[in-house]
Symmetry: C2
Subunit: 240 residues, 2 copies
Amino acid sequence: MVSTSAFARSAALVGDPARANMLAALMDGRALTAKELARAAGVTPQTASGHLARLTEGGLLAVEQQGRHRYHRVASASVAHMLESIMSVAAECGGVARGKPISVGPRDKALRHARTCYDHLAGELAVRLADKLIERGHVDFSADGGALTPEGATFLIALGVQFEAKSSHAASGRGSRLFCRPCLDWSERRSHIAGAVGAAICQCCLGHGWVKRLDGTRAIEVTPAGRRGFASAFDLFIEN
Amino acid sequence: MVSTSAFARSAALVGDPARANMLAALMDGRALTAKELARAAGVTPQTASGHLARLTEGGLLAVEQQGRHRYHRVASASVAHMLESIMSVAAECGGVARGKPISVGPRDKALRHARTCYDHLAGELAVRLADKLIERGHVDFSADGGALTPEGATFLIALGVQFEAKSSHAASGRGSRLFCRPCLDWSERRSHIAGAVGAAICQCCLGHGWVKRLDGTRAIEVTPAGRRGFASAFDLFIEN
DNA sequence: CCGAAGCTTCGGTCGCGGCCGAAGTATCCT
DNA sequence: AGGATACTTCGGCCGCGACCGAAGCTTCGG
């Protein structure tokens, strides 16, 4: 039995304000150092170190050492998905202190429009992009949890999307990362593209300068070049 | 901005062992009384009452009063989805105390095979059922976050599936409940059918006696009648 | 080899929150 | 009415864990 205590433990790790701030800062998929995370959480490095140890031990974060720096990142896509789903609930029920209809700030608006979700694109932009790819038969979400069709692969490669060559590790059973997986978008309530394909598309868009990250948040902005690019490549027209 | 403190608060509510046990007990979509939940959590009724008040205040539970009984249930499908995603992470990283390959108990096996997820079917059974319906063109997950086709509606109604007649409330914007939504299955890593259609199918299967709940868990069992029913209605053959 | 930087470990303080016993309120039954 | 049941509120106890200061460890640069 997956003990309910493991269930509580995972949630408790996210439940501390300092750790929640750290996780929120890591939600864009980047790897940050302990000091940066301490700043983000508003605590001293010692305290942050303790929290990071717990998060790593609990399987929520993975750490990579480079010289005297230790880079922390979200451990897996399923952890990122869990964090997104908690955010979704918090957004729904969090602000109802006095029945107010959840005033949505401009910050929120930007997040709803386009953001990163761990390592792939999310928000309205990503959902519309997924729609286009499905419409053209490049991606199929109805089959076996999501698949990239041969035509889709050809199309994306021609566009400059580079997929990981890690097929050796990809064969390691059902625990391995799904190639092209639907991911339910918390703001749009519809699926966008996650998995290796989603990550590669995101990298491609960043590489082409079509989108760029906004300051220290998960929100992203579509550049003028991006508007042209999305229009010509995907027949997708972004307003604003 | 959806404050990160709301984020932490939602997670912290799930993070307490007693509350986690209560939520786990409610994951099958039933509504339970405070006393039953106190037993499930292993605490006294007073303590349980306090926890339930917090969970309700936090928007995770909804409560319905009937005479001197107060029935508590999971507040929404998105909350149920959050709980499933936390379980998913807990199942992955929870048992790795000593690198052991997560020994899967018989209880777990039953859960993986067939269970309820809030108000609809989940597990291998549900995923295979979804596959069949997609294959026949009764359900379409590629369109607009999931849709029931006209043929699908005809087929299900003929089968005795009864949909809610709440179309008045269903018109209340995008926040309203999706009619037929894909829900990523944590054990199978593939989508099954959620939303109103998923709930109606689950009700139908229970009503026909095709499946029945096992004692106090979320696991369900396919009856002999169910094996015949799934085979004739969906061309779906259940072993074991 | 020395100092600085990044991070962790240790030790001690302190406050939040879980827990229960007892008492209070509401509802049902006869 | 009287008693039983379901649940909540109040008050006090207690322990876990978050936090920081100080000290230790490792790596990098000169």
